[in-house]
Amino acid sequence: MSRQVLEDTLTADSIAADSALAASGDATAFERLYRTHVARVHTLVRRMLDADEADDVTQDVFIRAWQKLSTFRGESAFGTWLHRLAVNVVLARRKRVGIERGRFINEEDPLDGVTSKRVTPELSMDFEEALASLPEGARQVFVLHDVEGYRHEEIARMLGVVPGTSKSQLHHARMALRRHLEQ
């Protein structure tokens, strides 16, 4: 067993074991899980919702995870389970704040919402800013599909739209964001 493989194995085992330990009530183990996964969760939340909601909703995700740990079966990686839970919390939040399905579907042109400022060498930041300025529906579809890897059918179920709407929103989002790749 190579050293890297051993380290990877120990890390994976450690996370799996921490999830079991946290499920038995160990807050110290849960803190380790938080430290390992908070960047991924916070980034997902920030991209899906408004940035000023990200801290609160990230906290909600981890509180929810603590409450639901006893239902974690260990059949998937803890990170995968937590990520899916985070998506569900975000979507519940979206629903709660009254983002109606009609508004999602009727966004005429997501490109209108995107600033056309000149791109600087800080492409990553500009890209993030452009992403944040997309209309909510297009932004969420883009994040779920292109960043997080969900399929249109899954996205459509999660957002309560038809797959065709998801595809259309994704294309509009990509068309808007391509402006921010120009040199």
Binding site: L10, I63, S124, H171
Partner: protein, 220 residues
């Protein structure tokens, strides 16, 4: 720009066009420089999206989260017959396989740690956050183990004899690994691999105990 085809470019990238549509679009791309350029840009967007880095929050959210965890409350451990939902599918052969894997992992990591002792090279650790000082770690884990073992005493009567025998054999293997790690740590308390090995092995024990208790509850 040809809107008819431009609006299909994302589906083309994602492989969602049927063969007829794909052939027609490719024929169009061969003659339309603008669509061809747009396609390249869209592909860059997709590539960039996959490479976006994760960034942590600017403030540490843990203190607020910790304050909101129900004080003194432990997420459910299967203690009685009311919890009949089976959360793990855990067979006797799987228990045995887990034991074998644990022995291999234990032997490998201890061997590696001991092999590295004569050198002055600092031992790399998988992640700083996964390593807790052994004294702290063993206190919290010992408490969890004691709790779960007490539950197991009550639950054993719900398991068949063969399962109990294999569970006990596995626990004995884990206990031996823990004891060996403790001895090794007494000689080399700062060894990162040994600390992590001990923590991982103890957590394995917690996981095994939890699963056995769940299995017993599901059979009740």
């Amino acid at each position: 720009m040809n809107d008819q085809w431009t609006n299909r470019l994302s589906e083309y990238i994602d492989g969602e066009l049927d063969s007829t549509e794909r052939a027609a679009l490719e024929a169009h791309l061969a003659t339309c420089g603008q669509c061809y350029a747009t396609l390249a840009e869209l592909r860059q967007v997709v590539t960039r999206a996959k490479a976006l880095p994760d960034t942590p929050p600017t403030t540490d959210l843990w203190p607020d989260i910790r304050a909101r965890l129900t004080p003194g409350r432990r997420p459910e451990v299967s203690r009685d017959t009311t919890n009949v939902r089976r959360r793990f599918s855990f067979s006797v052969p799987q228990l045995l396989a887990a034991s074998i894997a644990l022995v291999l992992l234990s032997g490998g990591s201890v061997w590696l740690a001991l092999q590295q002792r004569p050198t002055d090279t600092p031992v790399a650790t998988p992640q700083p956050t996964t390593i807790t000082p052994a004294a702290t770690w063993t206190r919290s884990t010992d408490a969890a183990i004691a709790d779960l073992q007490a539950v197991l005493v009550q639950n054993e009567k719900r398991l068949d004899t063969a399962t109990v025998r294999i569970v006990r054999k596995n626990l004995a293997v884990i206990d031996r690994a823990i004891a060996e790690a403790r001895i090794a740590l007494r000689n080399d308390p700062g060894n990162a691999y040994l600390n992590l090995h001990l923590a991982t092995t103890m957590r394995r024990k917690v996981e095994l105990l939890r699963r056995v208790n769940d299995m017993a509850a599901a059979r009740s």
